[in-house]
């Protein structure tokens, strides 16, 4: 019973590694040897076997897990974190110990793939089927070897990905402008909010509906801050237009 789903999981690229590993390399990657991997998109990282298992009832019990400690990274336990992001133009690959924005957006697509796998397993087993990228999906991604995916990171940049999905032109223009000005990732990230609010204004302010209407965006929770910005902007817009209307018709001056 439980083994069916696990079969489905490992069915694909099992000769060497689970298939999702392959996608990891598409943009760029973490640290250590990963800058060399960028273009060919084939070299694969062996996943660390994670010894401390969770005792959860369902789904995420281990596939095969027989690799030893780590064989990558020159043997040391030096690489701790992914390289930081820098602002890159569309199509541009980050140089040095940096990751580019195409790679960032690629991570969102990978999470989507992981969600779809989790959904397929859940359906096969007749269990509750998540519609969003939940903790369960992040846990699954980690188990599948995608240690470079984590919840705080993905949540942090969701609205940037949203702009990329909803208005790629504007997103691309913003990336070019911020790269040219030499801005850091934090500044670019902040700047992504405003054009998104403009998109929301154009479409009637319902940011949840806007996310849900987009096939790749619908699986992400609307970030709190984006929701608040849309609400604040709608309110002040509505207030000023009602003042205008009232001023002409009713106010005593």
């Amino acid at each position: 019973d439980a083994s069916h789903a696990l079969d489905a999981l490992s069915q694909e690229g099992l000769s060497e590694e689970p298939v999702q590993q392959e996608k990891e390399a598409a943009g760029s990657g973490g640290g250590g040897v990963w800058e060399m991997v960028v273009a060919n998109g084939r070299k694969q990282r062996r996943r660390k076997s994670c010894k401390g298992r969770s005792r959860m009832a369902s789904m995420e019990e281990d596939e095969e897990d027989d690799d030893e400690e780590e064989t990558e990274e020159g043997g040391g336990n030096e690489r701790q974190r992914e390289h930081p992001f820098i602002v890159t133009e569309p199509g541009e690959v980050a140089r040095g110990k940096k990751n580019g924005l195409d790679y960032l957006f690629h991570l969102y697509e990978q999470c989507r793939d992981f969600l779809i796998q989790v959904q397929n397993i859940a359906k096969e087993r007749g269990e509750k089927c998540p519609t969003k990228v939940t903790n369960q999906v992040f846990r699954y991604a980690k188990k599948a070897g995608a240690n470079y995916i984590n919840k705080p990171k993905m949540r942090h940049y969701v609205h940037c990905y949203a702009l990329h999905c909803l208005d790629e032109e504007t997103s691309n223009a913003l990336r070019r402008a911020f790269k040219e000005r030499g801005e850091n990732v934090g500044a670019w990230r902040q700047a992504c909010y405003k054009p998104l609010v403009v998109v929301a204004a154009r479409q009637g302010w319902d940011i949840d509906a806007i996310f849900n209407a987009h096939p790749r965006l619908s699986i992400w929770y609307v970030p709190t801050k984006l929701r608040q910005l849309c609400h604040a902007e709608r309110s002040s817009t509505a207030a000023s237009s009602s003042i205008t209307a009232a001023g002409v018709d009713h106010l005593p001056f």
Copy 2:
């Protein structure tokens, strides 16, 4: 800012009590004096002011809350629980210290009204908007004075309500049959699963889709046991039909 939503809340029947109180009486009611209330549907219970406030950020901060301890129930603190349910026919009012099944189903409609209010408040404030009857909705219902609504009860009978929504004919027939046989509520409740599985079979087994397609049912989580039953039944149906097919075509006998 916060006051708008509260206005909307109390806007309606404020002369005496919040309007949702009125609906409470539609079927029958809890204990004490409530059996007398059944038919006219007007007498209203004053809500207990709940002194221990939650410190939650949003929504459920108190409306007006000025009534004193309790003035109902002959003064004593005797009534502790709702009267138990008994199996009644459609339209039949329970006698004695019992509640009928129309009243049970009415509670589901009330929860829906509470959800809609919570949703309206959330939308006005630009906050996350629940699509299901969540803990937040139960908390809101309690604050609004509907102390007779609680999560374990509502979850316990969801599938009974589902059958009522999805196949009222069958639901009514089941009620009549179980009443006639003098079965207790537990037996009736158990018996509601099977016809639901039949409904699911007819509609392609996707019980989540079936719930979601129904406007009054879509706000309820699919009960775990119902999901499991549908899955088990689909699996064994599929297995036996594939054995049949395989037996004719491929098996060596």
